[in-house]
């Protein structure tokens, strides 16, 4: 390749380009919005056609948590192993607001979301930790929060019996609230991926120092992602309380909630918008099949799936597909 510089077009000559990129962006968006629409129609019909509410609720919950976790794990590279802290807090704030303060549940859930943002701000100093330190501290903070709630007076948090708000809330409403939160999360994800913030985050994930040198404000971008991520987990916690009507410190802070969010997101592909949804569909469906056939093997298989994913497809279904067929990048967000 002799003197390549002569063949290079000038900047002015290139200004008319970009139409192919725009076209690909339109295709990607169309596929994505079609997927959201399909999910909405499908899930909205479940109560009407007497489908299995619990499974579809589990799917919507999982997809929202995986998408929320993806904001911080997929877009910035942090692995918040105590992600459940925000979820648990959302449940408790919602429960307390409904039961003790008499606030309608549809206002209580957003209150829980805001509480999640406040907690995320309080935990923000941990963002300067890296890798495994961040994961361990995040997990520890979740445990500390769980024990702190257990320490609170029984009149407020219900003590070891937990809280029961089932008489005050409607299960079907809770189901649809979950759908609303899921759609919010999915739209936020696609907006974020195409926004400048989203690009900064991906650059940070790839190489924080290089991003910094290219003018990206690393600390601020990470903080935004962290807050958005926490907000959705807390909303989900609140809606979960709305749907099931009962929770205690063990179910609200179960480490499996975090684990499933991570696994669903990883199975589909961290860092892609569509990945967490795909991962959740596949794994909730597989889980359901397996659970029906071999109930006692449930957690063994969850563990096996995790191990196999990490060893053989660490980039998940979408990530692996894109790596093998790079053209698919044009079709998936």
């Amino acid at each position: 390749m002799a003197d390549l510089s002569q063949t290079a077009p000038t900047a002015t000559g290139a200004l008319g380009r970009g139409s192919d990129i725009k076209r690909q962006r339109r295709i990607r968006r169309a596929i994505w919005y079609a997927l959201i629409l399909a999910i909405v129609i499908w899930c909205a019909m479940v109560p009407v056609r007497d489908g299995n509410l619990s499974i579809y609720f589990a799917f919507m919950l999982g997809a929202t948590m995986a998408t929320g976790l993806n904001f911080v794990a997929g877009f910035t590279g942090y692995m918040p192993f105590g992600y459940v802290a925000f979820y648990g807090l959302g449940s408790y704030v919602t429960g307390i607001a409904v039961k003790l303060l008499g606030i309608p549940v549809y206002l209580a859930v957003p209150m829980g979301g805001c509480a999640g943002i406040l907690l995320a701000l309080a935990f923000a100093p941990t963002l300067r930790l890296s890798g495994i330190y961040f994961a361990i501290v995040s997990l520890s903070l979740a445990i500390i929060l769980q024990r702190s709630i257990a320490l609170m007076p029984e009149e407020i948090t219900g003590g070891s019996l937990g809280m029961n708000i089932g008489v005050l809330t409607d299960r079907i409403q809770g189901y649809y609230a979950m759908l609303v939160v899921l759609v919010m999360a999915l739209l936020t994800a696609s907006w974020l991926a195409e926004s400048r913030l989203g690009r900064s985050l991906k650059a940070i994930r790839e190489d924080a120092e290089a991003a910094d040198a290219m003018g990206v404000n690393v600390v601020r971008s990470r903080l935004y992602a962290w807050l958005v991520s926490a907000f959705f987990a807390s909303l989900v916690g609140g809606v979960q309380a709305w749907f099931t009507g009962a929770f205690d410190t063990f179910t609200a802070f179960d480490v499996l909630v975090t684990a499933k969010a991570i696994i669903y997101a990883m199975a589909g592909g961290l860092g892609t918008v569509i990945g967490p949804v795909v991962g959740t569909v596949v794994l909730v469906w597989a889980d359901e099949l397996v659970w029906r056939a071999f109930p006692e093997l449930n957690s063994f298989l969850l563990g096996l799936v995790i191990a196999l994913l990490i060893l053989f497809a660490p980039r998940g279904i979408i990530g692996t597909l894109i790596r093998r067929y790079p053209r698919l990048r044009n079709y998936f967000m």
């Binding site: 994961a135 702190s148 957690s299 563990g303 191990a307 660490p314």
Partner: protein, 306 residues
């Protein structure tokens, strides 16, 4: 508050501290040599406990009889697990976090397998020493004037403590005085440099993984003397304690973990006596967060390793 409770906490602190020290040290060998964050470490310990339970319930022998079997089985199991799981991790984007998640998956599989084999119930290990308790000292007027109290310690716990300390001493000797031990320390300090001086890092890593697994299993056997029951779900808290210990002692430093384990045992036992239950369960994690945020090299600094 009776001073007897405080004496009990002190002895409990030693007994549990030695256990935590050993769990932390073995976890730190994996962490230091292999950069593997073993989230299944509590379950590795649990395997030892359940094997001891099997030996005891089948033969009626002292669970300690299982020690050599467990050590050898776990060593080879560990080496096999290493070759099966760890080398592939090098291809992932973030090997440390991947190892963390991988071993979390392994821990789910292990708990589920143990439950499948032994059932979900907590099983007692009713082996009793003769005498059951040993009175270490007498406290005058412990329960009011003229009513003296005795500080009683279960013989099993004392035996566990002695064996535990012996293993710790042996391990320290191994790491500082033998050639393989020195290679291990070298690998912890600088994994790249040690390959240059002609050490097969893969074999060393596999052996280190096996050694750590064996130590974890042995700790599990000893644990059945301290807490005479086995619980398929008992692994997760042990893993968390192990993480507290290695963070306090400095990530990757087996000797730091020994000191931190004793410290954590003491803190835990005294908080159990002095604080409400939920608060006591929190103390360790608060320490962990504080150390990571303010003194990430661990409480004892880097000198401990040298």
């Amino acid at each position: 508050m009776s001073s007897i409770l405080l004496y009990n906490a002190l002895i409990g602190g030693l007994v549990f501290g030695a256990i935590y020290a050993l769990i932390g040290a073995s976890l730190n060998v994996m962490m230091g040599v292999l950069r593997v964050v073993n989230f299944a470490h509590g379950e590795f310990v649990l395997i030892g406990s359940f094997l001891a339970y099997s030996v005891f319930s089948l033969t009626g022998l002292n669970p300690l009889a299982a020690l050599p079997v467990v050590a050898i089985a776990m060593f080879f199991g560990g080496v096999a697990a290493y070759y099966l799981l760890i080398p592939r991790l090098r291809y992932s984007d973030d090997a440390e976090t991947s190892s963390f998640l991988l071993m979390f998956g392994v821990s789910l599989m292990l708990v589920s397998s143990i439950t499948w084999i032994y059932g979900a119930d907590i099983r007692p290990v009713n082996f009793s020493f003769d005498p059951v308790n040993i009175a270490l000292l007498t406290v005058e007027d412990a329960y009011g004037k003229g009513r003296d109290g005795k500080v009683l310690v279960p013989t099993a716990r004392l035996v566990a403590l002695v064996i535990n300390l012996a293993i710790i001493a042996a391990m320290t000797w191994f790491i500082y005085r033998t050639l393989p031990g020195k290679a291990l320390r070298g690998a912890i300090m600088n994994r790249d440099a040690i390959q240059v001086v002609g050490i097969d890092i893969d074999r060393l890593s596999a052996n280190a993984f096996g050694l750590a697994a064996a130590l974890a299993g042995v700790t599990g056997v000893i644990l059945t003397l301290v807490i005479p029951s086995v619980d398929p779900n008992g692994g997760a808290p042990l893993t968390l304690f192990a993480f507290i210990v290695i963070v306090l002692g400095g990530l990757g430093h087996p000797i730091g973990a020994l000191l931190a384990g004793m410290l954590f045992g003491m803190v835990e036992q005294f908080s159990n006596v002095l604080l409400p239950q939920s608060a006591a369960q929190m103390v360790g994690f608060v320490m962990l967060v504080a150390v990571v945020m303010f003194k990430p090299e661990g409480l004892f600094g880097r000198k401990v390793m040298r």
